[in-house]
Subunit: 263 residues, 2 copies
DNA sequence: CGTACGTTTGATCTTTCTCAATAATGGTGG
DNA sequence: CCACCATTATTGAGAAAGATCAAACGTACG
């Protein structure tokens, strides 16, 4: 199965690479793996599923039995409070493993829902766990992945907690742009935002109305231009400034500005 | 070294158990370990340090060279925005490993500062990494720890993003109480809050003034009583209600209300 | 015993929310 | 291909939670 030909995603016209290779490539951006480790990953048993937008990949309270990799399309993690308001906690992009969280912790503490139609690859929980136990380097790669996600989550706490609406929106736009570009999914000057303004509101803890007003002012100030969901950065430098954005927390390779050595 | 006698923490009168046993016990609350694994952990080389309140354990941008375990005392993770406001991201309690994040990711994306005077045990980064590579079960335990921290972080995003001030404060009090009690550090009816109202404000993304007012209303409504930093729960059930608190996200053992099985 | 830090209180101001209505847009069936 | 419908986006007016500013009061500690 490791050398199966690339698939094509029916109507959406996105060509899909071998799913496990996408996953492997993501791991290797932060964790070096031996050729044995790579082969072991490519030999994992998978099942491909094609799902519609809004499908749930995991629900809160589930006990997932497979770890799923997002092959194409977008998804988001969410939690709902007692009074029904929703908070989006992370946006998953192609290549992301959705379920390390649930893979090792049994009961899912949050839900994952698709933003767009998508193709996902399910890896059985047992196979994944055995792999990690048999190959410590892959375990370390998984640790890396989860720690990077934690880092992003910490930045989200800051974003939602301590920045005003304008900075919040600017920040999430910067984050998207950099993450997408790092996987070759967007150009440096703009991208197609896969979410509605309401979803953007749930990700930034604002109301859709206010998101709309802020987007307008960002546009009026010449920082972005947009036609519907397509965002173009007309002043990338200034946008980062407004956003208080520094890509370090994404722990992407390269472009490490200055690394202050510790004692 | 694994059966060394308990230490005593000089002036602070807190008796300190063998540091590595505290660490081991924390890991074992969520991850079963073989006796070989346990021995390997207890054989880790450590250096004990006694530090004053407000000391930094890690600074943003550091490249830490050891993984530090909080043996006694409290600490918090924090980030500071461009305009100087601070967000507290997590509170660390005795038994917590502070630096898994930085252990595997090189540059620290946030700072860790002590809330109180504390005793910490430093484990050299290399020793810890080798241990994880040599003993996959310990790797899995580390994954568990980091995933639980992620889960708590997600709940913090929700708390700060989607709950009003009253619920936020109530929630953080509930979280503390349950976490402290799970390590035998607090009684079910109250505890000594190790933070000032200003720090509480930075953890809940409020202002100190507003934290004060909310605490007063919680007291006036008979949910808590307090003398200075000591909080007593006079109506634990109602407080959880106000907080929209459900301990599931803490992934503590036992008391799993209902586990809905997934497909 | 005074100094610094933390807590408490009051008055006012601002950001963001809420409610409400209208205008685009894209998808669907005929 | 076109009309219709359900989303999504946009705009306005008023309300509210929480911030800000300012000051007084406690309390612990050197």
């Amino acid at each position: 199965m490791n050398l199966a030909p690339a698939h094509t995603c029916g109507s959406s016209k996105i060509s899909i690479e071998e799913p496990l290779e996408i996953f492997l490539r993501e791991l290797q951006t932060h964790s070096p793996l031996s050729s044995d480790d790579r082969d072991a990953i490519l030999r994992l048993p998978i099942r491909l599923r094609r799902l519609d937008a809004h499908s749930y990949l995991v629900r809160e309270g589930d006990i997932p039995i497979h770890c799923c990799i997002l092959v194409s399309g977008y998804a988001y993690r969410q939690k709902v409070t007692g009074d029904g308001s929703r908070q989006i906690l992370a946006v998953c992009i192609p290549g992301d493993a959705i379920d390390f969280q649930n893979m090792f912790l049994d009961i899912s503490d949050h839900a994952v829902q698709l933003l767009t139609r998508a193709v996902v690859a399910d890896i059985p929980r047992d196979a994944m766990q055995e792999l990690v136990l048999a190959r410590p380097a892959i375990g370390v790669a998984v640790i890396h992945s989860t720690l990077i996600e934690s880092s992003v989550l910490r930045e989200w706490v800051v974003n939602v907690g301590r920045r005003d609406a304008r900075a919040r929106i600017a920040h999430i736009l910067c984050e998207f742009a950099v993450r997408l570009e790092s996987r070759g999914l967007a150009s440096p000057d703009g991208f197609e935002l896969p979410m509605t303004q309401e979803q953007l509101a749930d990700a930034t803890s604002l109301t859709p109305v206010h998101v709309n007003r802020v987007l307008k002012t960002l546009q009026a100030d010449g920082l972005i231009s947009r036609q519907r969901r397509n965002i173009q950065f007309t002043d990338w430098r200034a946008l980062q400034e407004v956003a208080d954005f520094n890509r370090r927390y994404l722990h992407l390779p390269g472009e490490d500005e200055l690394a202050v050595a510790a004692i």
